[in-house]
């Protein structure tokens, strides 16, 4: 009904002006963004060609493209990307699920949560990379160690974030359920969990970034495949083209994955919940 009405009414002059202005602003932002990207890569390429920089050390967009094309031709490109992506996805899903489960336990038992508090604080403060060598000794140098590394990085943060969400659940909503005669389990499943769906999705988003850190760190330390491995291998054999190409692939892969999670969020966290 209201939709029809707005269609019939002719927009005022001021409205049209406003619409044009916002459209122009948007176009300007996009143009400048693209310009910056083109300028950086163009300048980089030019600097290499004119001898301002040494392409052997600084690499060059054309050499990077060549490297990527070579990787692709040898059939190495997607296996490397695939393994890193897989490790990351496993890492952030595991981190979020395990974090939520542990946070649930701590919500359930106030005693447990009070006991574990100092441990969580210390583990949170500890730079998890320091644990890398320990994991390698324990589970061997392989994807297992990498996934444990990503878990170590994302788990504690997830627990703390989800738990603080659980604890902040509106007491009155909990009271409402109690007045209806709800058990603690019902309070948890009918209020605490659904009320914190957004918190969990947020934690998932944070974990995507943290998992990439864990995966690359892990691959630096142990792997024989993956984007992190390509970076370390490239620097060891002094193939800066390979290092730069890997970093750019990594940037694209991480961005695509993050956008994927945003899409999932849009699909599942509907507007009504906000």
């Amino acid at each position: 009904m209201s939709k029809k009405k707005t269609k019939e009414i002719k927009p005022s002059k001021e409205r049209l002006l406003y619409l044009r202005r916002t459209r122009n602003e948007k176009a300007a932002v996009y143009s400048v963004r693209i310009f910056i990207l083109v300028a950086i890569f163009g300048l980089w390429e030019l600097a290499g060609n004119l001898g301002w920089i040494d392409p052997f050390i600084m690499s060059q967009p054309s050499r990077i493209l060549n490297t990527i094309a070579n990787l692709y031709a040898k059939g190495d490109l997607f296996p490397h990307i695939g393994i890193s992506c897989l490790e990351t996805v496993v890492g952030f899903l595991l981190g979020t699920v395990a974090g939520t489960l542990i946070a649930s336990l701590l919500w359930w038992s106030k005693f447990l949560s009070r006991v574990s508090e100092p441990y969580l604080v210390i583990l949170n403060a500890l730079p998890k990379v320091a644990l890398g060598p320990i994991f390698i000794v324990w589970v061997g140098a392989g994807p297992k160690a990498i996934i444990i590394m990503t878990l170590a990085i994302s788990l504690i943060v997830s627990i703390l974030e989800v738990l603080s969400g659980f604890m902040a659940t509106d007491i009155e909503k909990i009271k409402l359920l109690q007045t209806l005669g709800a058990s603690k389990w019902q309070v948890f499943t009918k209020v605490v969990l659904p009320a914190n769906f957004g918190t969990m999705v947020n934690s998932l988003k944070v974990n995507v970034g943290l998992s990439w850190v864990g995966v690359i760190m892990g691959e630096f330390l142990v792997s024989k495949a993956g984007i992190g491995y390509l970076i370390v291998y490239g620097s060891q054999v002094f193939q800066m083209d390979l290092v730069m190409a890997s970093v750019i692939i990594l940037a694209v892969a991480a961005a695509v994955m993050y956008q994927g999670v945003l899409l999932l969020e849009k699909k599942f966290v509907k507007e009504k919940q906000l």
């Binding site: 509106d170 009155e172 909503k173 009271k175 409402l176 359920l177 109690q178 007045t179 209806l180 005669g181 709800a182 019902q186 009918k190 209020v191 659904p194 009320a195 769906f197 009504k272 919940q273």
Partner: protein, 255 residues
């Protein structure tokens, strides 16, 4: 008539690291079926604590509460509770919200859901049952909250400052609306409020509590000329002012 709620010498002390707080002391009163009793008192005097004790959410330190002749030790389906805000869950539709109690008590039978559908129809919310709370007005949300409470067919309703989150005009309209529904459904009500006018406009009896620890200071039988005068109309009647002044003096409000 037999008393449906019997509060006998109830006291409650809260314990905290900083000491002991006596919230209510020696409260004693009874409520008859279909009676509307209000409890007024200064803010923070322990009114809500008293309701929580009657609902079985908090065990009293001393004294006993009987509902329908049975000693209260835990929450009972006989008693419904309405809180300050509607607390409709934003992630549930109105239908899923109003049937929450049936779901929790695991009695979502056809008979019970039909009853809820009737309530929704009677009180003009049936067409909105698939909407989400954010799509409803404040008054409609409060109605939905009442239907959620009525869905489990409690005999007794406890209203805990149920209208105080609404703006003044809406509050007048909603309290009139809710009053009519409650009378029609013939429920017994114990309402806690800090609003003297609200208590006089809705109840048969007003119990005045002192500041903390709350003790009963006085009880006023409220009666207006004419059968069952609704809240908005009561505010216009000459008796209203007399009751207001008497309770105002007893509450001893200073700024």
């Amino acid at each position: 008539m037999e008393d449906i709620v019997n509060v006998q010498n109830v006291s409650l002390k809260y314990q905290s690291p900083n000491g002991e707080i006596e919230a209510i002391s020696n409260i004693d009163f009874a409520v008859k079926p279909a009676e509307f009793v209000s409890i007024v008192g200064p803010s923070g005097c322990g009114k809500s604590t008293l309701l929580s004790v009657i609902a079985g959410l908090l065990p009293p330190t001393a004294g006993k509460v009987y509902v329908n002749g049975e000693l209260v030790t835990k929450t009972s389906p006989m008693v419904g509770y309405m809180l300050q805000k509607d607390h409709l869950f934003s992630w549930r539709t109105i239908w899923q919200n109003v049937t929450l109690g049936l779901e929790v008590q695991k009695c979502k039978t056809k008979e019970n859901t039909d009853y809820v559908k009737d309530l929704l129809r009677t009180y003009g919310l049936y067409e909105f049952k698939d909407k989400y709370p954010a799509q409803l007005s404040g008054g409609m949300r409060q109605r939905a909250a009442l239907i959620r409470t009525l869905a489990t067919r409690p005999e007794i309703l406890l209203l805990d400052e149920a209208f105080s989150a609404l703006d003044y005009q809406t509050r007048l309209a909603v309290s009139d609306d809710i009053y009519r529904i409650i009378r029609k459904e013939k429920k017994t009500v114990i309402m806690v409020t800090h609003d003297i006018s609200e208590s006089i406009s809705m109840s048969d009896r007003v119990i005045v509590l002192s500041g903390r620890p709350a003790v009963i200071r006085n009880t006023h039988e409220i009666s207006f000329a004419g059968p069952d005068v609704p809240p908005l109309a009561r505010r216009e009647l000459p008796e209203f002012r007399g009751y207001f002044n008497a309770i105002w003096k007893e509450l001893d409000i200073h700024v």
